[in-house]
């Protein structure tokens, strides 16, 4: 699936919920299911500091594609992180670098990507793209 096909799939899944709590329960569930990172990979190099919670992001290449792994201390952030990985991980650096993320807005979670939420998600998206650009140049 392309990045946009995955985004559309997520938007469809969220369309089933008419209650905020159902949405959040789904995100919390995804957060709990995300494997996360082993302690030894939660390094200073991988950390993206938010004011309230932080995110750890790791990237490596498998074949032509870029694989992301990430973790967070807060489960809602982790759920959002899990969706970002589902959308962006496993694609070519070019695709990732050129992608436009619209699903977050569409599922009504854009406030979490606002600077004021201070959870490191904005920086995480930026960092994912930076990895993609860096690998493109290699």
């Amino acid at each position: 699936m392309t990045i946009n096909e995955i985004q559309d799939e997520i938007i469809e899944e969220f369309a089933l919920f008419d209650d905020w709590a159902d949405k959040y329960e789904y995100i919390i569930d995804m957060g709990k299911k995300l494997k996360g990172l082993p302690q030894d990979q939660k390094t200073e190099d991988n950390i993206i500091k938010g004011c309230q919670s932080q995110v750890w992001l790791n990237a490596h290449k498998e074949g032509d594609n870029l694989i992301f792994e990430a973790d967070s201390e807060a489960v809602i952030v982790k759920g959002l992180v899990s969706m970002l990985i589902r959308v962006l991980s496993g694609h070519s650096p070019k695709e990732i670098a050129e992608s436009e993320l619209y699903f977050i807005d569409q599922i009504g979670m854009s406030q979490h990507l606002a600077q004021t939420r201070s959870n490191g998600l904005v920086s995480m998206v930026k960092q994912m793209k930076n990895y993609a650009i860096a690998y493109q140049l290699k």
Binding site: Y24, I28, S53, E73, A74, V75, V77, H112, N119
Partner: protein
């Protein structure tokens, strides 16, 4: 406990238009008062009135508007003097807030009178704005920074304070009330002991002024800073109290208009107090409206505000402690209406996000007190802080919300 009405809560709530709204379809519960309080209509009207009728630059013009603006600006200075119990309006300097007041003292008094090898004492309860200015000064001058530790209840360890005090200590700066935990510090005792070794004392009053009666002369504080926005007043304005003799000995903070007597290219003479420290056009409108905030508190009665908040805190604490896995952070014997807590296995941010969806505004995180969070070995807390317009029913909403949040995250 009996939940008798201490204040006319419905009347008070009607004074705060912002409270009358829904968040995510639920009536707003605003429990982030330690960050900033909401503003009564009297304050909003004072701002509006100023811009509609009186706006002019102060102290310089001879026209009617300038006179009116100057009169109202100076009337607030007198109101603040009275509010703090200061001896003279010369001792009241308008600032942009607490942070500004602390920086002013660090940059002027600190730079001039504290030297290499001297010591400054702060406490483990401090807000970053009462840590960083002193660190900057210490780094610049080779001064040593010492910290009064905090005990498990969130109180200052006064025995260690006694040990830290010596002739080397030139300044002590602590908060009157902790923003993260609500602890009321024994500042009168702290000040007396500092004076005994010849140190001056700066008090960060940001969290105290909306809850406690302040009397800087009784405390014998050398400097006392606060922010209007935490006591129902506008943002971006506050005041610094300083003892006249100290203010006179201090060099000015910023250069510019208003703070000068005469300027030639050879030499400038400075204006007298308090104008020496008020360079440039000040935040006139917000200073004017600050008076309305002080009058508003007086119109309810400061003792009644405190009693109402204490009742809310007591009720909230009892209810919170019944939640399984919840631990209060900050159980000082003397505290203001701040309930800071952690729930086992749940990140504070998750609590904050979900409570927001339930219409309940709390603060989560480190509350600009990272060293204090480290002391308790936690990432942060969830903090509910109460003001005069909050109600028992709202506390119930918080408690019900927390039960719901726990279930959602389980």
């Amino acid at each position: 406990m009996t939940l008798t009405e201490i204040v006319d809560i419905q009347k008070i709530r009607a004074d705060f238009p912002v409270l009358d709204q829904e968040i995510n379809g639920k009536k707003l519960v605003y429990f982030d008062n330690a960050a900033t309080t909401q503003k009564p209509i009297a304050v909003i009207n004072a701002l509006k009135h100023y811009y509609e009728f009186d706006n002019a630059n102060i102290h310089r013009g001879i026209h009617t508007l300038a006179e009116r603006a100057t009169r109202d600006f100076e009337a607030t200075r007198e109101a603040v003097r009275k509010f703090l119990g200061a001896a003279s309006t010369e001792e009241i300097i308008f600032t942009s807030g607490t942070t500004n007041g602390i920086n002013l003292v660090a940059s002027t008094y600190g730079r001039k009178f504290i030297k290499e090898g001297d010591e400054i004492i702060i406490s483990g309860l401090e807000h970053h704005s009462n840590i960083v200015p002193w660190q900057m000064l210490c780094e610049e001058k080779g001064i040593t920074l010492k910290v009064i530790p905090v005990n498990d209840r969130g109180e200052l360890d006064m025995e260690v304070y006694d040990q830290l005090l010596s002739e080397k200590v030139k300044l002590v700066s602590v908060n009157h009330v902790s923003n993260a935990l609500g602890t009321i510090n024994p500042v009168k005792e702290i000040i007396a002991k500092a004076h005994a070794v010849g140190a001056v004392v700066m008090i960060d009053g940001a969290q105290a002024t909306s809850h406690l009666d302040i009397d800087v002369q009784d405390l014998d504080a050398d400097f006392y800073a606060f922010s209007a926005h935490k006591l129902y007043g506008p943002t971006g304005v506050g005041a610094l109290y300083g003892k006249k003799a100290l203010l006179e000995a201090m060099p000015p903070y910023m250069g510019g208009g208003e703070m000068i007597k005469e300027v030639t290219f050879e030499k400038t003479t400075y204006n007298e107090l308090p104008y020496k420290f008020e360079a440039g056009t000040p935040n006139i409108a917000d200073v004017v409206a600050l008076k309305a905030a002080l009058e508003y508190m007086d119109s309810i009665g400061r003792d009644k505000i405190a009693a109402h908040e204490d009742m809310l805190l007591q009720y909230a604490t009892e209810q919170l402690l019944q939640i399984e896995g919840l631990r209060m952070i900050g159980e000082a014997k003397n505290k203001v209406s701040v309930a800071s807590f952690v729930i086992e296995g749940i990140h504070p941010q998750d609590i904050g996000v979900l409570l927001d969806n339930l219409g309940v505004a709390v603060r989560t995180g480190h509350h600009c007190t990272q060293p204090l969070m480290k002391r308790f070995n936690i990432l942060g807390t969830t903090r509910a802080s109460f003001a005069v317009y909050n109600t028992i029913e709202e506390v119930d909403r918080l408690i019900a919300g927390l039960h719901r949040v726990k279930k959602m995250l389980a």
